[in-house]
Amino acid sequence: MTSANEIRCDELVELITDYLDGALNAETERCIDASLAACEGCARYLAQIRATISALGDLPTEALPDNSRDALLSAFRRATR
């Protein structure tokens, strides 16, 4: 029961990654902008996702040696097939 210009909070949180990647159409993006400005809960959720990304970005990359990345990648491809 979503109306033309309102977005439910439980929908918004699922679109956060697309939103941050700029992968949404302009109409949806506008809806999200408006919701974020009006809903403290969603605004906090976005801020916390940003904080999470920035904490991840601060992790030292050397914590992940190349061989473990290769191992992960091959595991990934196995899982995909």
């Binding site: 699922e14 990654t17 605004a43 992790l59 914590a63």
Partner: protein, 617 residues
């Protein structure tokens, strides 16, 4: 239209099964009229600017990475730790960008939820950490308190009228000046608040101090009426810039440092104590300086103090909460700010309570000494009387947050005391009684006003905080003008004691709304908004019939609508339109359905009807 952009589209394209990434129990269920909205907002997180906190967060994040499913772990690592973009990541792992984003979305949500647990268990189980936060808050606030004190210095304030008469003011030109000042403040209030939200709260406070220093300088240099009026206008700029912005910066700092707003009232109270003390002590020193030297010098001596406040603001670390959401267009921001002040069922009673309490306080400060005139008190008593009245600003600050005005009992108690005090002002001709009644009333109103300010800030997001607070300031200002006019007229014709019935009536209204706010345990923001539209009569016929049917069976909602109707009729007389009708309509329709001609869009009406259907089944 919803299907064009819903998350369903996304998962269909991605070809992966994607249940919700946030625990569905965090949102209202299908039994609730507002299905899909937050049950309770996620609790705010403490600031990670402190390296100690940031290090613990990093350690925790690193420790949970291993618990992610491997596909998510790889995508998250590539995107957020190694910093590849969406395109690069999908070619490295050979999946579509859409699928890559679905995995990333799930991984980020998982890590966020883990961090949330981390912050959640941090507090109650670790009292030392909580104590650390409060100590860090106190340390961070110091430059702000000091700046508030320095900008509160006004050596010229007690001798202003004297100086004005020295440079040729007459009662008529004093009136012109007061009117010019009164016009500037509400015009600049809201734009200055929006500037604080979009740009920087600290920046706006610095501009405010610069305006205050300029005003003192121009005032001191004035040798005629015209230049002094310019100084008064610049003082209006200061006032508009400062009000609303200071409380917002205090609120956001408290939220950022401690993760919640419980100590906001006390921190804002502390600011008020410092401001009040500076005002009282600088008034004493100013009178004495003018006696020894000249009235003109008090203006120049004020400037270095105010300039000092700018230096202190520069050493204050500004909270960043208002920048958390991505910048929206100015148009959207103005619309949302405006709608929040005027449209929300939950915010409106708080706004009304804030306006009423400010109104009573302003009336006491403006007309309080009239009682002394009416009972022919000796000139000797005016000084101590005024000092006692002004000191309530600081004393109220000390009491703020300690009276538990979120409970019905304390609200009832202070309302009764305020009523007794205001009735005393209508009958008593005894100096001690009149003074005590005014001081008591002012004191409790200051406490109530700080309490309501806390509620207002609790109800609005940081991105529009200063704008809303400044809007309330402007409303109070606008409400005061006609009130003061009527009050002055009544005092002239019937005497100040009879005019005091106006104060009593305002106290009753404020008490009712404060009681209602305390009574309303956990407001349902969205439902309140719809009921507001019902109360406002802006629903279409079908929705209105359904709403009426629901109200017939729901006492709580009925009471809420009645309360709102009262509030609406009280606010109805106030000019609350900061934008011309045409502009406002254009702004609103940009947010609503393009085909809508009624104030409520058809989609919203459908939502209301559905919502009511569900409540009834």
């Amino acid at each position: 239209m919803a299907s064009e952009r819903g998350s369903g589209e996304l998962t269909a394209q991605a070809g992966v099964s994607a249940g919700p990434t946030v625990d569905p129990s965090r949102f209202r269920g299908s039994d609730d009229p507002f299905e899909g909205h937050w049950r309770e907002f996620p609790a705010p997180w403490p600031s990670t600017e402190d390296e100690h906190v940031a290090a613990r967060v990093r350690a925790h994040v690193a420790s949970v990475l291993g618990r992610l499913p491997s596909r998510q772990q790889v995508v998250l690592t590539l995107r957020d730790i190694e910093g590849f973009n969406s395109d690069e990541t999908s070619s490295i792992v050979e999946i579509s960008e859409v699928e890559q984003r679905v995995l990333l979305q799930r991984a980020r949500a998982f890590v966020r939820a883990e961090l949330e647990n981390h912050f959640d268990v941090d507090d109650p189980k670790d009292p030392a950490a909580a104590e650390d936060r409060h100590r860090s808050l106190r340390r961070r606030m110091l430059p702000l308190y000091a700046a508030a004190g320095l900008q509160g210095v006004g050596l010229w304030v007690p001798v202003e009228k004297l100086f004005m008469s020295e440079i040729g003011f007459t009662p008529a030109t004093i009136g012109v000046m007061a009117a010019a000042y009164a016009a500037v403040v509400p015009i600049i209030e809201v734009p200055s608040g929006i500037l604080a939200d979009r740009w920087s709260r600290r920046g706006v406070l610095i501009i405010a101090s610069a305006a205050l220093a300029t005003s003192a300088l121009v005032g001191g240099l004035s040798t005629n009426v015209a230049t002094y009026i310019v100084a008064a206008l610049v003082l209006g700029v200061y006032f508009a810039m400062y009000s609303g912005t200071m409380e917002s910066i205090v609120y956001d700092t408290v939220l950022e440092e401690t993760g919640d707003s419980t100590v906001f009232q006390r921190r804002l109270g502390r600011v008020r104590v410092v401001e009040g003390s500076a005002l009282v002590s600088s008034s004493l020193v100013g009178g004495w300086t003018a006696e020894l030297t000249s009235t003109r010098l008090t203006y120049f001596l004020t400037v270095p103090f105010v300039a000092g406040s700018i230096v202190l603001y520069l050493t204050f670390r500004e909270p960043r909460l208002h920048q958390a959401t991505r910048a929206t267009s100015l148009r959207n921001q103005v619309t949302v700010t405006y709608r929040t002040i005027t449209r929300r069922g939950v915010v409106l009673p708080i706004v009304t309570a804030a306006v009423l309490t400010s109104l009573i306080l302003q009336v006491l400060f403006e007309f309080g000494p009239l009682w002394l005139v009416a009972i022919s008190a000796a000139a000797l008593w005016y000084g101590p009387f005024w000092a006692a009245l002004v000191s309530t600003l600081g004393l109220g600050g000390l009491l703020a947050g300690r009276l538990r005005l979120d409970r019905l009992g304390p609200v009832l108690t202070i309302t009764v005391i305020m009523l007794l005090a205001s009735v005393a002002l209508t009958v008593s001709r005894h100096l001690a009684v009149v003074t005590a009644a005014q001081v008591l009333l002012a004191l409790l109103i200051v406490v109530a006003n700080i309490h309501v300010t806390g509620q207002l800030h609790d109800a609005v997001p940081s991105s529009i905080r200063s704008g809303v607070a400044s809007g309330v300031g402007a409303l109070s200002w606008i409400a005061f003008l006609p009130f003061a006019l009527v009050f002055g007229l009544l005092s002239n014709t019937l005497g100040v004691h009879s005019a005091a019935w106006l104060i009593t009536a305002t106290v009753v209204m404020a008490g009712v709304i404060l009681g209602r706010l305390a009574f309303r345990a956990r407001p349902h923001r969205n439902l309140a908004d719809l009921l507001h539209r019902y109360a406002d009569g802006t629903l279409d016929a079908a929705a209105e019939r359904r709403a009426a049917a629901h109200l017939a069976s729901c006492g709580a909602c009925r009471a809420h609508v009645e309360q709102m109707r009262k509030t609406i009729s009280m606010l109805g007389d106030l000019p609350t339109e900061p934008l011309p009708d045409q502009t406002r309509d254009a702004l609103l329709s940009s947010l609503r359905s393009r085909t809508s001609r009624v104030p409520v869009a058809p989609g919203e009406t459908a939502e209301i009807v559905n919502a009511l259907d569900r409540t009834q089944t």
